[in-house]
Amino acid sequence: MGFQCLKIESKDPRLDGIDSLSGTEIPLHYICRLANHAIHLVVFHERSGNYLWHGHLRLKGHMDRKFVPFRKLRFGRYPGAFDRPELQQITVDGLEVFIPKDPVHFLEEIPHSRFIECRYKEARAFLQQYLDDNTVEAMAFRKNAKELLQLAAKTLKKLGVRFWLSSGTCLGWYRQCNIIPYSKDVDLGIFIQDYKSDIISAFQDVGLPLKHKFGKVEDSLELSFQGKDDIKLDIFFFYEETDHMWNGGTQAKTGKKFKYLFPKFTLCWTEFVDMKIHVPCETIEYIEANYGKTWKIPVKTWDWKRSPPNVQPNGIWPISEWDEVIQLY
């Protein structure tokens, strides 16, 4: 038909998680041009976690960099993840095409669709050095933590609240692409501006009662829900300052306040325990702020009051407020 086409292929990332499997490459993008027009065909692949993934548009050495103005393309700067849309067939200009049933939702996802892959190679290296814990307790914990995380994700998604993996859960993803067996709880982060008052009741409704609530919306808010088998779901609310982010902590006994400082970050999608979930795009800075440069070394006894390098004492709650800011159940 006279089109000139360019095909971008790469290794299948779905095989990356497994020890050195190499298969054929999968197509990621096709760009076809004719005169002054170009068609950019983005190939979406299904991945575990019920989402669609598309790859990064990276030109190999011999490809023509002037083929089309690549910088103007909407897709391809980063790999992207999208909820699987249901499609409907419509007619446009006499052509029958498929579009998502909810085109607005799909278009809204595009600017926030950036996806980062888990570091499987580094995770394998880590597990070779520090052998993975395969005891029954570890496996049971992983199973329960995964279920808890999925339940929390479903609940928050229904409320429309954005969240990401924080603290120990984030470290587990970054360091070993899996849940750390001795981490004892599941940690999530939510921007305080995304807070909704129905979060607590929504979790209650799915069987996760509130265990404690520290702080208040204006300052150092922190929620903790009780899951099955003694696993907690900790939600840390992040506050934004001009040049950094922080979340608060409270020591129930003494009313002492703590502040954990983080450099500013944006959210990216990733795949973790068969789910599409957010993590900070600038993960290494986030991890290092929370765990220091020695995050690669497993530490089984972590004191959240003293161990993190980014912790700062932040004063103390006035006793008059204790009823409001320290609620234990």
Binding site: K11, L15, I18, S22, G23, E46, S48, G61, R65, R77
Partner: protein, 660 residues
């Protein structure tokens, strides 16, 4: 003037001091204007040139860096660069028109070198005995096949004849003997060697050494032979060096019609030999099969994982049968190869299927189990929507109604939690003990050999605790353990839908195959309608068993159960016999019975709550273990359960049983 005295400030004019050679040279030069000018200009020019070259270098490097970065992606993906490096093994089509071949034959070592590259070298002790055969592509010199036939042992010469007959005419054949290759080299093989033009091959004697280079159907290119002087000694080592003229590419290839299939065929046939008529010029075997579509195919979207190693000729046979099965979806098939072997990948590419190679981890059976784990995880990653996966091995023939069988039974795996798997293999289904292709059983074992795995079982239970690489366990033995199986059962057909033909393998050998696999019954009837599938659910099966037992005629327990006369000469009846089974794990009598009936007796398979079901003389034969089986209540009080005593343990009785 008389009063002029030399000034003390001025040095007296005396003999000139020895001036430094530099100063001498400098002044000398300084006095020659032209030379000075010239040097100065030269120096300035040199400086200019250096500066220009440096600037150019900087600009070039910067451009190269920015090009390599592409779309502002900071990380360099060196894997990408590696991927682009195609290992070019093919000889260039340059002026080389001759191959320099060296062949060495001796008692303990053989080697073959082509143009200086060693393509075969075997000096390991206690292995590689016999005739080594290498087939080279006559246009490129590329090694197309490498085989060894232990013609000291029986039947290997027949295999060699078969192989050599399948090699395309014109191919370069290289033969070399290691240790001994004549003892069972019979007339047919010798005649074949004679037809290749060999003089020494047909006359090969005890412990002779022999090296041969020739063409299939064409002339001998070189031969060397050394007779062994005495029975107790070997022939001298011989080293044969010849030049093999290369033919043109067109002469080496067939001229098939230019279709996509034939392009695949051509790629395959120019790389690999030993696959017979698929590469035949005149009448090539088809590589695409159009089996009948399966109406209402419930397994159309179930991924199929073929777990393969390095037995490409087995893989070839297996894939042919798989692709001929009714209802197969080729795009759902993935072949997982344990190791970076070329020939199995070539076979996969021949059939246009997807192949994935796996870096092998660990050793022996642990290597196999790690390969299974990687393959199963990858399968569920590549097909995230799938709720099941079909697991096959490369040494199985697949029945034509394999997918039809699965399509009719898969809903059981979905609806009944007490099921562990569906398998196409009946451990006790031999030619004399299996009759009814429409019949299904529930059994307390996991037979493997063509089975369906539920994704939730794998992801939630098996994958998290799959044996780690240092545990030398068989993956299937591990899966059969009570900690994994947890009292669940598998559905099997009476007549197996897979046939295990592998003779060579980690746990296989010829004798094992003859004894336990050769006479296995295999279904060849297409489109079998399974009978009463829903009666295989947990409670419904018990109802069915009770019905069967009520209708079954009780046999005469005074007769010997091993004899054929134990059952009357009828057909289509149902009989029941009661054997002694003290406890749930007392299989003494059963094992003896299995032994004398020549069915699987290496461990206990096929039982369901102390009940075995099979066929004898085309009658349905039920065996109930009393009193351990809950079906013991059906035993008439007058009947004494049969007890078969194991023979007294002899010296050197076999130890733990080997499983596939």
């Amino acid at each position: 003037m008389d009063d002029w005295k030399p000034s003390s400030l001025i040095k007296p004019f005396g003999a000139r001091k020895k001036r430094s050679w530099y100063l001498t040279w400098k002044y000398k030069l300084a006095n020659q204007r032209a030379l000075r000018r010239f040097c100065q200009t030269g120096a300035v020019l040199f400086l200019l040139v250096t500066v220009i070259v440096n600037i150019k270098l900087i600009l070039d490097t910067r451009r190269a860096i920015s090009e390599a970065n592409g779309d502002a992606e900071p990380e360099q993906d060196y894997d990408e660069a590696l991927g682009r490096l195609e290992p070019s093994r093919r000889r260039g089509s340059g002026p080389r028109r001759v191959l320099d071949v060296e062949v060495y034959s001796s008692r303990s070592k053989v080697y073959v070198a082509v143009d200086g590259t060693t393509v075969l070298e075997d000096e390991a002790r206690e292995q590689g005995r016999g005739i080594h055969v290498i087939v080279l592509n006559q246009a490129t010199g590329h090694v197309m096949a490498k085989r060894v036939f232990d013609t000291y042992s029986p039947h290997e010469d027949e295999a060699m004849v078969l192989f050599l007959n399948m090699v395309a005419p014109g191919r370069v054949l290289i033969c070399t003997v290691k240790d001994e290759g004549s003892f069972h080299l019979k007339d047919t093989a010798k005649a074949l060697l004679r037809s290749l033009g060999s003089q020494a091959g047909p006359a090969l004697g005890w412990r002779d050494t022999w090296a041969f280079v020739g063409r299939k159907g064409g002339p001998v290119l070189g031969e060397k032979h050394s007779k062994s002087p005495a029975l107790s000694s070997w022939g001298d080592p011989v080293l044969l060096k010849t030049d093999v003229p290369l033919s043109s590419a067109e002469e080496a290839e067939c001229h098939w019609a230019d279709t996509e299939l034939n392009r695949r065929r051509r790629r395959f046939c120019s790389k690999v030999e030993g696959y017979g008529s698929v590469c035949s010029c005149k009448d090539p075997t088809p590589i695409e099969f159009s089996p009948d579509p399966l109406p209402d195919n419930k397994v159309l979207n179930v991924p199929v994982a073929v777990i393969a190693g390095n037995r490409p000729n087995y893989l070839y046979r297996m894939l042919r049968s798989l692709l001929s099965a009714q209802g197969v979806s080729p795009q759902m098939i993935t072949v997982f190869i344990d190791g970076y072997y070329e020939e199995p990948m070539d076979v996969v590419a021949l059939f246009g299927l997807r192949g994935i190679q796996h870096t092998p981890i660990s050793i022996k059976n642990a290597r196999v189990s790690q390969h299974y784990k990687a393959s199963l995880t990858a399968t569920f990653n590549l097909f995230p929507e799938a709720k099941f996966a079909v697991v096959l091995e490369e040494d199985l023939d697949i029945a034509v109604d394999f997918f039809s069988f699965l399509s009719q039974s898969i809903h059981l795996l979905e609806e009944d939690d007490s099921l562990y798997c569906i398998s196409a293999w009946n451990d006790q289904g031999y030619e004399h003990t299996a009759e009814d292709p429409a019949l299904l059983y529930r059994v307390e074992t996991m037979p493997g050999l063509g089975w369906v795995l539920r994704k939730s079982l794998y992801k939630e239970e098996l994958e998290p605790k799959w044996p780690t690489p240092e545990k030398l366990w068989d993956w299937d033995m591990w899966m059969r353990m009570p900690e994994q199986r947890r009292g669940r059962e598998c559905i099997i057909p009476d007549v197996s839908r897979s046939y295990h033909f592998g003779i060579v393998g980690l746990n296989m050998n010829g004798y094992f195959h003859e004894a336990y696999f050769k006479k296995h019954k295999f279904n060849t009837v297409p489109g079998v309608q399974l009978r009463n599938v829903d009666s295989l659910k947990k409670e419904a099966y018990e109802v069915e068993i009770h019905r069967l037992l009520s209708e079954a005629e009780v046999l005469d327990h005074s007769k010997n159960p091993c004899e054929d006369s134990f059952l009357p000469d009828t057909e289509g009846h149902t009989y029941v016999a009661f054997i002694r089974m003290e406890k749930d794990d007392d299989f003494t009598t059963w094992t003896q019975l299995a032994k004398c009936l020549h069915i699987w007796d290496l461990d206990v398979r096929g039982n369901h709550r102390g009940l075995w079901r099979l066929f004898r003389k085309k009658n349905h034969f039920l065996v109930v273990g009393v009193p351990a089986s809950p079906y013991s209540v059906k035993k008439p009080p007058s009947i004494t359960p049969i007890f078969l005593e194991p023979p007294p343990k002899e010296e050197g009785a076999p130890g733990a049983a080997e499983q596939t």
